[in-house]
């Protein structure tokens, strides 16, 4: 393990203090939002109130207002539909691409991978104008499907890049062994490589979904009727009328979306960090344990001595690492 436990008590105290301070800093906006969403108007506009306590009774009226009198639920549905569609498109295109780049193209794979990643750096602000023209030409303006078409443009480069890393960390020998045992390349990939790269695939799904939720400029440029807006664009459009900010509802809308996403991230964050971990053998075995599946995968034991191969490669790599 690279991150060693600090030995001294003082070192530990320092690290924990730092961590707690950072957590408070990061968590503060959420605390603020959570408090504000229950605040009564009279409390909110009282300049002498203590911002950290509710000086009047908590009220749910702004939340019910948000849910009943604004198309907020419609925004969420739009977001989910767009997100799922984009995830499917992204995986369908970036999985084969990442596999090919990681395994089949040799030295050029790496370079092309970087080139693909660099396209992710071309900002949406540059692209939204020409794309808006394009969207109008194909008649998708004002529809959530315009976003489904456009979002893969930035999710695929990122996903391909991430998946390349995950797929490369799967030992070649395992797939080759499956091929020796009579599977086609495709069959071998589906049965051995993909299950091992599952944590990576899930990470990519979460990332893609969150990216589609974060986008602002495309959604703003392509969609103007509130029935097809997403949360990020719809909420400010509906809840900021002129100079009046409906703070409680705004905060509620942010919390309602952010909390599930934050929980989701928490679940998958550990797996994401494993990818960044340089010890690749350890990364896989741990990730595999994490996914709840037994190694070697059940059902493969009889047909392939994958477990034996696994042990051999592990021993081999340990040997080279030691020397």
């Amino acid at each position: 393990m690279a991150a060693a436990q600090p030995r001294t008590v003082r070192g530990r105290i320092a690290i924990y203090t730092l961590a707690i301070a950072f957590a408070l800093l990061v968590g503060f906006p959420f605390l603020w939002a959570a408090l504000t969403m229950f605040r009564q108007d009279a409390d909110l506009y009282d300049p002498t109130h203590n911002p950290f306590v509710l000086s009047k009774l908590a009220t749910f009226s702004h939340i019910t207002d948000l849910l009943k009198n604004t198309p907020y639920l419609q925004f969420i549905v739009n977001n989910v539909v767009i997100g799922l569609a984009v995830v499917v498109i992204t995986l369908a295109l970036s999985l084969p691409a990442a596999y090919a780049l990681a395994r089949l193209t040799g030295r050029w794979g790496e370079r092309i991978g970087i080139a693909i990643f660099v396209t992710y750096l071309v900002p949406p602000t540059l692209l939204f104008l020409p794309l808006s023209r394009l969207i109008t030409t194909i008649g998708l303006q004002d529809s959530i499907w315009s976003l489904v078409v456009v979002y893969p443009g930035f999710t695929i480069p990122l996903s391909t890049w991430l998946l390349m890393g995950f797929l490369r960390s799967v030992p070649r020998d395992i797939q080759e062994q499956a091929q020796v045992d009579g599977y086609s390349r495709l069959g071998a990939v589906v049965r051995t490589v993909l299950p091992l790269a599952l944590p990576g695939i899930i990470t990519v799904v979460v990332f893609t979904f969150t990216l589609t939720m974060q986008d602002f400029i495309y959604a703003l440029a392509f969609v103007s009727s509130s029935s097809s807006m997403t949360v990020s664009v719809g909420v400010p459009t509906v809840l900021i009328r002129g100079d009046v900010f409906y703070w409680q509802s705004l905060m509620a809308s942010a919390i309602i979306v952010a909390v599930p996403v934050a929980l989701l991230y928490n679940v998958f964050l550990g797996r994401f960090i494993q990818r960044l971990h340089p010890g690749r053998r350890q990364g896989i075995s741990r990730a595999h344990r994490g996914s709840g599946a037994a190694w070697p995968p059940a059902g493969r034991q009889r047909r392939t001595p994958a477990g034996i191969i696994w042990r051999q490669t592990t021993a081999h790599s340990e040997g080279t690492a030691a020397s």
Partner: protein, 77 residues
Amino acid sequence: MALLFRIVFTFTDMAAVFVLTGGGPGNATQVLASWAFYKGINGGNLAVGAADALIMFPVLLGLAAILLRIASRAEVG
């Protein structure tokens, strides 16, 4: 790498401007990215908006090239 990301995305972020000030008062808080939107989509003047957006491109390209070079040098060293 993270720095590169931050710079590029901060440079091109227009959501904060759009939501908080709408570019106002006047055009005092307008950035290149939000101005491209106001001209190109809201104003209907696609050419001006596109030109505005393209101005950002060489700046970002240069920045990305420099940072990528630094990053790759750090990896080798």
